[in-house]
Amino acid sequence: MFAFCTDPSTLDTFRWFSCYLTNGAHFLFYQSFLVVFALLAVTAPTSLAFGFIAAAASRSHILPISWLGKIYTAMVRGVPDIVFFLFFVLVLDQAIEYLRHQVTCPDWTEEIRQGANFLVCPEARTPSGNAPQWVHEIYGFALAVFTYAIVFGAFCGNVLYGAMQAVPRAQLETAEAYGMSRRQVFWRVLVPQMWIYALPGLSNIWMILIKATPLLFLLGIEDIVYWARELGGSRTSAYQYPHPDWRFWYFLALLVFYLAFTRVSEIVLARLTIRLSRGQATAGGEALRKAAA
């Protein structure tokens, strides 16, 4: 990056590091932090939406719908989530290819599952065999995001269902007494009040979600863990910047990054709790009212 970087072997330590840390591979490493943020930015709202739908479905008066919602939220309990991650990515991939196969090649006669192989017609390959590299990467990332959303959606659903139950019954009864329909009670009374009850659970899930991001590596995404391993591995003098095995230091950097990230999240969430407590019929809201008076 800098002009003096043409021959790193002649540089002193400080300049050597300023060149080393700004070379092309390191910029890819820094970019991969954006992958983490992108994952969080997409996953958090999606899983919240999944969870909201699941929680609303669990409260439904139509039995099959409420069963669906409950089964979905109960599904994730009792099983390590890493199992779900590995499972869903493969299942989604195969399901998409299978559906496209049914649509695009109806007259394909061969079996799809042949022993250890999963063969669909060439048109149904997703992404198609000759697609550029970035399409493959985006597709892989989208699958990963969807998997995260399914798993964390179940957790959000659990929390939101609890929050909906926690809204004082009297509030809903009052709304009904005013002649509101079920739909109106849900949107005008229940939903605005449930967030403060959901917040402790949701912030817990957010923390877990942050700490789940390195698992992207297991799904084959080139994320920060991938680059830390890649860049940290020892380099012989054949390379421009030879160094011994530095993977420990790279992982230390990641550790510090995650510690900082969770700490900042904690502080922001604490503020949000105060903000949402305003005007609520809870101990926190009461304390705010007293402080203001």
Binding site: G78, V79, P80, I82, V83, F118, I208, R247, F251, L252
Partner: protein, 279 residues
């Protein structure tokens, strides 16, 4: 291969006994169920030992975090923050890299009359290295739970202890500790479940599976890669873990009953099982 043959060949495969080669062709249901079950031995090993050792360390950490003296409180706070604030996955990676960097030394010593030749190389093996990481990790999480319980002990109980002339160790052992356990137990049950689930990460992080001796998920992933059919091995793992979780809930439920045996029936806290995801 019949189910009996599969059982004989692979039941202890994860410990290195039985058939050397993993099944490669014609993989039936029995091979998968037996081999994955064999891998579960490692999950139980990691979970049980980390939980047992971690319990005592966690109590010590929680008490340390509750001390007014900065010199004792701060290290405990930092330990808990570092292990709770960072992903277990990264901790595994880091620990492995750190253990690999250790100089290779062997020490011989006698423990209870048995000659043991300990090597630092053991640290980079999963059975010791991953166990240490899990031990520290669960200690930090449990310590936070115990600390919360310590703060929640009713003031009246402690004042009553003072009034009876109890102090120091006696007060801790008779009043503080039992009440702390009683309050913390439901959350601690969740932590235990959580820890057993976290053991599935061991061979997926950097600790290599020596001679393909892996845990349940390691074998499940092996089968999913081989057969390209995730619908058999992963549900098997799921069923095994659900059974393991039920065992933990049953065991911890018994302890919970014992801890609350002095309370009237309707005031006993129920265990609410809310396992969290991972760390």
């Amino acid at each position: 291969m019949t189910c009996v043959e599969a059982f004989n060949a692979y039941a202890l495969r994860s410990l290195g006994m039985g058939e050397r080669m993993l099944p490669t062709a014609d993989i039936g249901f029995c091979e998968q169920a037996v081999l994955i079950g064999s891998g579960l031995i490692w999950n139980v090993y990691f979970g049980l030992l980390a939980l047992t050792f971690g319990f005592f360390f966690a109590v010590a950490l929680a008490v340390a975090k509750n001390q007014p003296a900065r010199l004792i409180r701060k290290p405990a706070e930092w330990f808990i923050f570092i292990f709770r604030g960072s992903p277990l996955f990264i901790q595994f990676f880091m620990a492995y890299e750190a253990f690999v960097m250790l100089p290779r030394v062997g020490i011989e010593f006698t423990l209870l009359g048995v000659e043991i030749a300990a090597e630092t190389r053991w640290f980079s093996r999963a059975w010791l290295g991953a166990l240490i990481v899990l031990f520290f990790n669960t200690s930090a999480y449990a310590a936070e739970i115990f600390y919360g319980a310590l703060r929640a002990i009713p003031r009246g109980d402690l004042e009553a202890a003072d009034a009876y002339g109890l102090s120091g160790w006696k007060k801790f052992r008779r009043i503080t500790f039992p009440t702390m356990m009683r309050l913390a137990w439901p959350s601690y049950t969740n932590e235990a479940i959580f820890l057993f689930h976290a053991t599935a990460l061991v061979f997926f992080s950097s600790f290599p599976a020596f001679q393909q001796r892996g845990d349940a998920l390691y074998y499940a992933n092996y089968f999913a890669d081989r057969t390209f059919n995730p619908f058999v091995p992963y549900p098997i793992v799921a069923v095994y873990f659900v059974l393991l979780t039920l065992c933990i809930i049953a065991l911890f439920g018994l302890i919970n009953r014992r801890l609350n045996r002095h309370l009237p029936q309707n005031q006993r806290p129920r265990l609410r099982i809310r396992p969290q995801v991972f760390r």
